[in-house]
Symmetry: C2
Subunit: 566 residues, 2 copies
Amino acid sequence: MTAQPLSPPLSPHELYGRHRATLDQAVAASRARGYWSPFAEMPSPRAYGETAAADGETAFKARLNKLFPLDQPAGQGFVGAERSPFGLKLGVTYPKPDLDALLAAAKAAMPGWRKAGPDGRAGVCLEILTRLNKRSFEIANAVQHTTGQAFMMAFQAGGPHAQDRGLEAVAYGWKAMTDQVPSARWEKPQGKNPPLVMDKRFEVVPRGVAVVIGCATFPTWNGYPGLFASLVTGNAVVVKPHPAAILPLAITVEVCREVLAAAGLDPNLVTLAADSADAPITKELATRPEVALIDFTGSSEFGSWLEQNARQAQVFTEKAGVNTVIIDSTDDPKGMARNLAFALSLYSGQMCTTPQAIFVPKDGIRAGGEHLGFDQVVQAIATATDKFLSDPERAVEVLGAIQSDATLKRLEDAQALGTVALASRAIAHPKFPDARVHTPLILVLDAKDEDKYGQELFGPIAMIVKVEGTDDALTRAARLVREKGALTAALYSTDQDVIDRVQDTLTEAGVALSVNLTGGVLVNQSAAFSDFHGTGANPACNAALCDLAFVAGRFRVVQTRVPVAA
Amino acid sequence: MTAQPLSPPLSPHELYGRHRATLDQAVAASRARGYWSPFAEMPSPRAYGETAAADGETAFKARLNKLFPLDQPAGQGFVGAERSPFGLKLGVTYPKPDLDALLAAAKAAMPGWRKAGPDGRAGVCLEILTRLNKRSFEIANAVQHTTGQAFMMAFQAGGPHAQDRGLEAVAYGWKAMTDQVPSARWEKPQGKNPPLVMDKRFEVVPRGVAVVIGCATFPTWNGYPGLFASLVTGNAVVVKPHPAAILPLAITVEVCREVLAAAGLDPNLVTLAADSADAPITKELATRPEVALIDFTGSSEFGSWLEQNARQAQVFTEKAGVNTVIIDSTDDPKGMARNLAFALSLYSGQMCTTPQAIFVPKDGIRAGGEHLGFDQVVQAIATATDKFLSDPERAVEVLGAIQSDATLKRLEDAQALGTVALASRAIAHPKFPDARVHTPLILVLDAKDEDKYGQELFGPIAMIVKVEGTDDALTRAARLVREKGALTAALYSTDQDVIDRVQDTLTEAGVALSVNLTGGVLVNQSAAFSDFHGTGANPACNAALCDLAFVAGRFRVVQTRVPVAA
């Protein structure tokens, strides 16, 4: 991909002018919380151009088996051992970072960025997002062949939906930075004497160097909020991708640097710090005194390590949890089973939002006009899942591939945890013979087996838990939220009193609740500008994407005041 | 003071209606940053009523030598050993808290408070502030006779100005909580198919129990922001006053509980946890798992301890720093000297905002049409200070009294640190013969003596530092801000280039700057709704009063979504 110089070269202020309408809409949307997105989510020629799909694939393939070029301060040697869960070895290498040089360059770049001001920085960030959008097909290929997402998800979640989340962070950051006027005249009456008059200026200053620690499953979707929240608020950002999913973020960094340079700013405001699984640099990087902000998505263990050890920084984490579903009753058992089947299958359960424990009363439920026994509910979900994935061509486009060896191993080991209601089976991918594709395992467990269903088992592993009844389910679900954390919770009930009680209890416990999903929306899905992803109110994460708390601490306001002669 | 039942009893919603106009004005003022306050700052009969002053003093005196009545969960025994810096022993005792019972009661009170919603909570908080305002004279007496502030300052800073800061926190908290709509309909187009439609609800939930740790010098001014920021955002608040300044906060807690009860809410949302200097409870309280928010004003040592050890909580600290003044040039040397004399004298330098190190070029400065040598600048400041305090009756109303033995000792020891330009002298208080009143000590030091002037010396101790020139002064000031922290910085210069350079450098360093103060505003003073007190961008504090970052993390938003049938 050749660099696309801005022609004519545009200042941050001009970029603000270019993108201001979009920014205003984004700010309005994040307040109104209806549906809104400026980025087309369908990979259609109409939205992206006739040749966009082919161009993107070509651009991706041109990356393979080469050094990824980045003109940033580099150390000695190279890293990079990405391997597609669909079978391909990527062979891309990246310059090893020299952290001293990288952090020094990042710091040196910040004063000029501060002076671009909130508007100028928002303009630059929106130009970056606009260009990232144009690169959505290339990024989709990179996401697919690092995370194992099927193409459609890789395109949507890795492209426009990630860009939405990035834009949302820009909108929140800009809104927070401009929460007070940039300057004001203060005039205090003094009775019969002349008033005291002062001119005051309020300038936004950054906190320091920010580090974004990417994950292996949603490198851009989970990475962009922190990247753009820190960048728009004036900080320099070092992007530290997961060793298994470097490419999508490397392309992102490239685009950021291209726009920064073209706008006359220091491109070292955004740099890449790639590492390898056997020589990780994250702990060293995260605890450097220059680092003031950290965004992390990944394991609870490492997220907690960061919270405990990166004491010099403000740390935003999205970790793991145990997502639960409470089935009390339904008037659409088929819709429920189909919706759950989709939710459990999507990207082979490799989403932090996938349900893990499904609580079903031991005496069954009211379903439509009839009664379904416990076993019938289990059977309905298992059958729906099996049927949903019966066509391999369709199945692989939902399941994608298993991202890591660890998840595959976990899936194998999980069979012993309970009674198998639906066995996991391997599916041959029609296009990628080496792809590791596996359908979800569905187990039945007893309520007392909380040591099993109450631990996060990342991957295509679902457990239906036999409980006394809805109250028992609610007590267990709320406790799991409080103790283990959760990104999502779901409820099926036809009883408004039950819905109100569950909503009240789970709101108090601090988890987002989806009620009676039987149609086109899955509990796993979270829409920018409308859904808060995570709450920050339970152990699964200490932040939400995106809200004021996610941005307000990333900058400070420093004032100057000068008296005005009466 | 007898309880004033709300008549007729008013719900939180009705209180919101009553105070909504004030809230709207407060939100607008905090954005526009001009002068605004709803609370009269002069202790005048016109504003507060003919008998208010006498009633307040009577109410204060009625507190003395008695148990302070609080109907909250209490432990065994009593604490309280307050002693007025003006000589009086207060003799007030307070129930010793039982932390287990107190925290359990605080937690139990929160669900009802959450349900009052942002509007209802803001209404209750504004009613509390309105009633605190009516108690300003009583609180002023309590502030005076715990902190040592002279009456006028005790009234203004302890009363209306503290109420302003509390209101500012309510306004910011309410603004942040209502940053998104409480509910929304989300409607996503699906091409030719019917849209996906969901109803979503966004509820604000608290973080947990908040603790406000008061200081000995400005118990209400520094305590109200945290108290009201945590309370309005749905948390219960335990107020832990400094053992030397319990009464002002005890009265505050009493008013909070009175309003909460009258509004049908659980008064245990605000409780007092008094302790004594020889059996402090702060460390135990601050590290309790129930505690999610801590606001602290006090020493750097204890503030840093909290930041390091109260890991379960979000910790907001205002600690200490070294405030500097750079004198480059002035066209009003008399105004400058008089303004600095006032700044150094006010409350005997016992403000976190008082200048400590005054940098003066060794070759002197341009001053008006003439040149003033270094010694002449020193002399001008010393003489102005001496003259300003020459009338004992006026002097005691500016100086107040020395709050603690430690500050008195510090003042005595400081004489040896440099060449004395103005010796401190004791002044007999015409009304309180046992008051410890001392004028500021002004020393001259060399730039190399940073080990002396570069440590905070709380109290009436100022140091004029001989530097090479303005650049040298700026380098030193900026380094002190970065390494030791600062709440304020000041500059005198007639050269716009110098002003711009100092502003840029100190903004980058993260400290608020006041330029060319020669009139009625002192560098020490910070006006609610206009001045950010502290920046959070240097080691003197990790938060500012008041901004979005001060409130946005005190609550979370939890959503529920339900599909709407097409």
